[in-house]
């Protein structure tokens, strides 16, 4: 597959980021707890209290 000619610095970055060790980490268990707790549980409680 022919590759596009990218800016050398962008190319360097992409090569590095194609390796999983250089990527940021997705949400883990703790992050999901924060998301569900604040994005689902808290709204449900708020709606019950506000009624």
């Amino acid at each position: 597959m022919a590759q596009e000619k990218l800016h050398p610095e962008l190319e360097r970055r992409l090569r590095l980021l194609e390796e999983p060790k250089n990527q940021g980490q997705d949400y883990d268990g703790l992050a999901w707890m924060a998301l569900i707790g604040l994005g689902v549980v808290l709204p449900v409680i708020a709606l019950l209290i506000g009624r």
């Binding site: 970055r13 992409l14 990527q23 980490q25 604040l38 808290l42 506000g50």
Partner: protein
């Protein structure tokens, strides 16, 4: 020690849409949370609160807005953030796997219009507050109004430009100073609630429907759409953090919570004093000194948000080939200029139609978020090609058909039609089951389902989109 060349590359990356490397993503939870809070906490909160206060009393208004805001924040956090966090990219880059190597112009246009809209609102609000206070103090006459608005708009635009000359460092620097305004906001709420509690409890919302359920749902809907409009902002900021763990709580607390909390000021203001602008009602409640404090708060809040918004839209513009190599100051000017023009020429028209603007945010960003969530979690299960985010040629996995993904286009249309069926963004007339489910949530869900179906039936069998 960092060499000059390395530092120059780092600074350049910070002002580009290039993905950031781990060593460049140095914002911890506190730094991210403060920056997000500074971006979210602005005087739009009062206007959001004002709209909720039209339909609900203080308690109902606050709790529905809290619920809606946190739901909206969760949707944005699930849509744009995972790709932004993993590869250090902004919101626009995060949308390329769904919209295609050319189709991303759709979210880019939405981002630009949304940020111009919000920032225009902030500048107009600031100009109005300044005029109110200076009039009250007797420092200006009625005839100086026009000049004052123009001067305020130009001054604020110039300050934003200067703050951002050094890229995201400007966002961080401004955030550290201006985050104090969030606490001033809570103090103002305390003043109003303690001094006017009886009035607040007795106040009746001016435009409440006879259907209590409709009012309640509308409070939630306003919260959701308000937070959906953080989509354009969030990628450029969370990409500075290294992991989802360090970003999740700061996003929900830093960017999600300040809006309902500060919007309570707007709800209280409109219910008790029929005005949501704290610079005006603080003067009514506490005299000129309180009015000055409130105005300083308005200035600080709006400036911090405008800085974050212009930075995000500038990074978004970098994806356009014509802007890729443009000098950073020129790019900043392109981002700021429309804001200044709206603030200068059509301030009243824009300000008077805030509710419609909010509904149009839901109309556009609800389906966009639904599509991204369905794609990342259901269809790709987290498998994204970072090279595909930046390569648009025939070999790119996100080339689809001519750079556009029909699944995203069809899903967007389905989402928009769903929203329009449920809630008219101009008249706020609704159809069932809006009063049970809001307009944004079914819109996001249906757009996600349509995207998944078209992808499964058409895109994937054609070997497009890098799904294999």
């Amino acid at each position: 020690m960092m060499s000059d060349t390395t530092e120059a590359v780092l600074i350049e990356a910070d002002k580009s849409a290039w993905p950031l490397l781990p060593g460049e993503r140095t914002w911890g939870p506190w730094q991210l949370g403060i920056s997000l809070a500074t971006a979210a906490a602005a005087t739009w909160c009062y206007i959001i609160g004002e709209y909720v206060g039209y339909y609900l009393n203080f308690d109902e208004g606050f709790f529905t807005l809290l619920a809606g805001s946190m739901i909206g924040m969760l949707i944005v956090a699930l849509a744009a953030v995972p790709v932004a966090i993993r590869f250090g990219v902004d919101s626009i880059a995060s949308s390329k796997p769904q919209f295609g190597s050319r189709g991303w112009v759709i979210p880019a246009a939405m981002q630009f219009v949304s940020i111009v809209g919000w920032n225009s609102l902030l500048l107009i609000f600031f100009a109005k507050s300044t005029r109110q206070l200076l009039l009250a103090l007797g420092w200006i006459g009625e005839d100086s109004h026009g000049y004052l608005v123009q001067a305020t708009v130009l001054l604020a635009s110039a300050l934003v430009f200067l703050f951002l000359l050094k890229g995201s460092a400007g966002v961080d620097r401004v955030a550290k100073i201006l985050v104090a305004h969030v606490f001033v906001g809570f103090w103002m709420l305390y003043i109003l609630v303690t001094q006017r509690w009886d009035d607040l409890q007795a106040a009746v919302p001016a435009y409440a429907s006879t259907d209590a359920r409709w009012n309640y749902t509308t409070g939630v809907e306003i919260g959701i759409v308000s937070l959906l409009s953080w989509w354009p902002y969030i990628g450029a900021m969370v990409r500075m953090a290294p992991s989802g763990r360090k970003a999740a709580a700061p996003i929900m607390i830093g960017m999600g919570l300040p809006v309902p909390l500060l919007s309570a000021i707007g709800i209280a203001g409109i219910l008790v004093l029929q005005v949501s602008d704290p610079a005006e009602w603080m003067r009514t409640v506490g005299g000129p000194v309180y009015g000055v404090i409130a105005l300083l708060f308005v200035a600080a809040a709006n400036l911090g948000t405008a800085v974050a918004g212009v930075y995000s839209s500038s990074i978004g513009l970098r994806h356009f080939p014509a802007f890729q190599h443009l000098h950073w100051p020129t790019l900043l000017l392109i981002s700021i200029a429309p804001v200044g023009l709206v603030g200068l020429f059509i301030p009243e028209l824009f300000f008077a139609n805030f509710g419609t603007f909010l509904a149009f945010i839901g109309l556009g960003f609800a389906p966009l978020c639904g599509i991204q969530i369905a794609d990342y979690y259901l269809l790709r299960r987290g498998r994204i090609s970072v090279r595909g985010l930046f390569e648009g040629g025939t070999g790119s996995p996100y080339r689809f058909w001519g750079g556009f993904n029909p699944a995203a286009l069809v899903a967007m249309i389905a989402g928009v039609l769903t929203y329009l069926y449920l809630l008219n963004p101009i008249t706020y007339a609704s159809r069932s089951p809006y009063e049970y489910v809001t307009a944004s949530l079914p819109t996001a869900a249906l757009a996600g389902i349509v995207f998944a179906l078209v992808t499964a039936l058409v895109v994937r069998p054609a070997g497009k989109g890098g799904y294999e």
